[in-house]
């Protein structure tokens, strides 16, 4: 089926978040979350973990606004045990990395996950997700109403 649209993008390319302390944020992203980070500009760092898409971390002055847990970024880890390990590490190193909030681990339909809010009030979800999970969802199509 051919769908005509106003925009015909090559790529869903990026999302953005804000930070105030660039070095401290990088330390959290690389040491704790295990994300790849480069800094091409004084006011921006680029976050990635495989794939062509990027999350742009923009430095802002002053206090960041709360992004809200419903607006968050998801990190996939290899299995359910890795989620539990990450949760334990978050509790253990909360103060080291300025983590503001850590929610409990939940499991729904075989996906184990938890959410945390970082020093910049940005929310992250760590889950045992895979690309196959999304491949299957797109292949199945819409739920039956």
């Amino acid at each position: 089926m051919t769908i005509t649209s106003i925009v015909n993008p090559d790529l869903l390319s990026h999302g953005t978040l804000e930070c105030s302390d660039t070095p401290a944020t990088r330390r959290f992203l690389t040491e704790f979350l295990g994300i790849d980070v480069v800094r091409p500009l004084p006011e921006a760092q680029y976050l990635s973990k495989g794939g062509p898409w990027t999350v742009v971390c923009v430095r802002v002055d002053g206090e960041q606004k709360d992004q809200g847990p419903q607006n968050r970024f998801k990190l996939a880890v290899g299995n359910a045990a890795a989620v539990d390990d990450a949760h334990a590490a978050a509790l253990r190193h909360k103060d080291d990395y300025g983590i503001r909030r850590i929610e409990g681990v939940e499991e729904k339909n075989g996906i184990r996950s938890f959410r945390l809010q970082d020093m910049n009030k940005v929310w992250w979800e760590i889950a045992n997700l895979t690309q196959q999970h999304y491949d299957d969802a797109f292949a199945r199509g819409d739920y039956k109403r």
Binding site: E31, F32, L41, N71, A82, Y134
Partner: protein, 172 residues
């Protein structure tokens, strides 16, 4: 005698606590999933599916078997329908798509600006050059901001990522 120069010890081999396989998804909320789906499909040219009531998954087109991006990794946006937007978003929290030329940005702006009401959009900003990109932003009916962007090959995010740090990572 001058005091010895001391250096701060580096953390031992920088332990990584979370070991992600991918930065796999971003999420946002909407008060009207059907409206968001229409915007993502008919305006932004993205592929959508509703795997369950109140949830919309969004990716770029072309990843289905036999299509040009089949088997390639992709990023997913996950929208959930809510009664109220608890935390309105601002421009610095946006989602972006790449188009293939500056002219495509201009064409998109003209059409989106003309159909602003039809898609229930808020403000549609004019295209401008900024940090090597040519782009414009618009906000949807739920305070989610979107960017339509063109960059030359050397300024693509992936190209800049490959170059590594151009600014001291420890600089404030």
């Amino acid at each position: 005698m001058s005091a010895p120069v001391t250096t701060q010890a580096k953390p031992a081999a920088a332990a990584v606590y979370v070991k992600p396989t991918a930065l796999i998804s971003g999420t946002f909320v909407t008060r009207d999933l059907a409206r968001t789906r229409r915007m993502c499909e008919a305006l932004l040219g993205l592929e959508c599916v509703e795997p369950e009531k109140g949830v919309l998954l969004i990716r770029e087109r072309g990843h289905r078997p036999g299509e040009k991006l089949a088997g390639q990794p992709y990023w997913v946006l996950e929208a959930r329908e809510v009664a109220e937007i608890a935390v309105p978003q601002e421009m610095l929290n946006h989602w972006g798509v790449f188009v293939s030329s500056q002219a495509a940005v201009d064409a998109a702006f003209e059409k989106i600006n003309a159909q602003q009401k039809e898609f229930g959009l808020g403000r549609v900003q004019k295209p401008r050059f900024r940090h090597g990109s040519y782009a414009f932003y618009f906000v949807d009916g739920d305070s989610n901001w979107w960017e339509i962007e063109y960059r030359t090959a050397e300024l693509l995010y992936t190209s800049l990522r490959q170059k590594g740090d151009q600014v001291d990572p420890q600089a404030p």
